[in-house]
Amino acid sequence: MGLTRKSTGIYTFLEEFHTDSSGYQAIIALAGNPNTGKSTVFNGLTGLNQHTGNWPGKTVTLAKGFYQHKGKQIALVDLPGTYSLLAQSVEEQVARDFICFGEPDAVVVVTDATCLERNLNLTLQIMEITSQVVMCLNLMDEAKRKNIHIDHEKLAKLLGIPIVPTAARSKEGLNALKDAIDQTVSGGKRLRPKTVCYDQELETTLAELTSDFSSTFSSRINSRWLALRLLDSDFTMVKQILRYINKTGNNLPSSSEEGLDL
């Protein structure tokens, strides 16, 4: 509700990119379109008072908090709201970089039940990066008011990820969400998200590139997604991918970055 102490003044400096994972059993990233109530879910789970407001683009930095569930300490990172992970604005980069390189143990996608279709675009993109995705189908109260019905069980089957309907403003469904996160993190069920299939030519190209480096990179980033990004002319992204791979010990020649005017 309104700006909080932590979102103004000197505190604006205190955002960092990497989360200190010591002391936590898992790090969870909270992603979603703008204005789906991500910050409300964040506050509901952590009991913190992150600035919430009814307008898109209010969270542009990473907010962090934690909660305890079933004896586990879980760290939660609230990402800026984005419509996609392909675009170029700084806040979208912040979100994408964290999902790719911040190594969260799971990503919770908060979606707006009143306009699911638009929200699915981001969900599908995140599912391409990581299989550890849980959907929090938020604003169910508003959907009910607007007479919109969603078959969430069928949706879970179509996407291949757990889906938890919630109404975060009245804290409905948040416990179920914690349970679903717990199950995903502890790996009780191996998730097999059903990602988008591209056209024939693109798929064969991807397969060709993927086979080349899947044996080389032991990174946690999905190799199919990596191949797709390397083919797409996003220069900053390619640079970051290489920096990340260098850092995680897959030693590539450091001259690599110069050779990359793609």
Partner: protein
Amino acid sequence: MNIMSTDRLITKIRMLRERIGPNLRDRVVSSIYQHAEKISRNVVQKNEFKQDLDICIDNIATSRIFGLPLMLLLLSGILWLTITGANYPSQLLAKLFFGIEDQLTVFFRFLNAPDWLHGLLVLGIYRTLAWVVSVMLPPMAIFFPLFTFCEDLGYLPRVAFNLDHFFKKAGAHGKQVLTMCMGFGCNAAGVIACRIIESPRERLIAILTNNFVPCNGRFPTLFAMAAIFIGTLVNNSHNLTASLFVTGVIILGIMITLLVSWILSKSLLKGIPSSFTLELPPYRLPKIGSLLVRSVIDRTIFVLIRAVIVAIPAGAFTWIFANIHVGGITLIDLFASWLQDFGRLIGLDGYIIVAFILGLPANEIVLPILIMSYLSQGAMLELDSITALRDLLLSNGWTWLTALNMSLFSLLHFPCATTLLTIHKETQSTKWSLLAALIPTGVAIIVCFLITQVAHFFKLV
């Protein structure tokens, strides 16, 4: 194991790219969209038979005819409520605090404390604090919950929608309005919020002009000027005049934002405004309880505490400054007299300029420092009510023109230190950070100079 060198990988990527052609991004995006559509068709059932209330409200709130007037009405309404509502509690607090001051004086006499200690602690620090709390607390406690209500309701994107047209004409981005709304809370937060603007050119414009919306720390100064000076010009409708004055100051800030944005986009930051889609979120009725708690604790008390914390050393510093004599003249008088001619030229005085310079760490403390330096000059008035503050200012040669220029200078001058540091962090450039301080200061000086000269020319003061 098949270790591929990076160079080979890059050659391969180049080759594959040529094969699949240039429109990869479009193919990927359209596949994702089609897939999303298919799934959503499968699971979503919509029965929209009733006309949406949101749409009805938006037909008025964002209409060409009613949009702008409604916005102004809402703004001045909020300000009127703030000023009217703050009046009585302010007087009550002032009475309470100065009652305590008398007791403190008695206590110090009882202890046989030396005069300088009583001067520093009671007449210096305590008195300044008493003013800060009684002038700043009540308006903030009313204004911030009201503003937060509009924010949580979902009205702010509508404001952006209504003003988009103007910003496009100024060569700036429509989302700049949202960053300005954030600036109403805190300019440092507003500068960070500029990240929502994709184009670097428009983002810089938004960063450089964010300071032209008054933040938490400057609102109290505006309210104080309005309530104790401007409002009393017209006797009958005192609060109405005061609230219209503050509304006018804010509108002027927006107009200056547009003007400076326009000049920047025609000179240093040339370019065409990019288009964007802005989602108008549904109206949501805020939860009043938590809204009150949050806006009072996180905004009101926070700003107040910061003012108090910075005002204590600043108050002591100013008092000492004002009591150290160099060649028969106090240090503060010395500095003020250097700046006096310049201050006069823009309708202020040397002390006000000193207060703004010393207030660089936080805008909240400009007024306290000023009160402090006036008080320390030995003109010991009996300050026991809110009107006494007015008398203090009057006895230091203030007129309505000084109050007006004080408000405008506060609105337009250089951003506080935190905001400047944030700008440096966001732009990674010393040049733009310097410009972020110089442009507003230049504008403030020009505006105040023009107003003063015009007023003198027509012999209005």
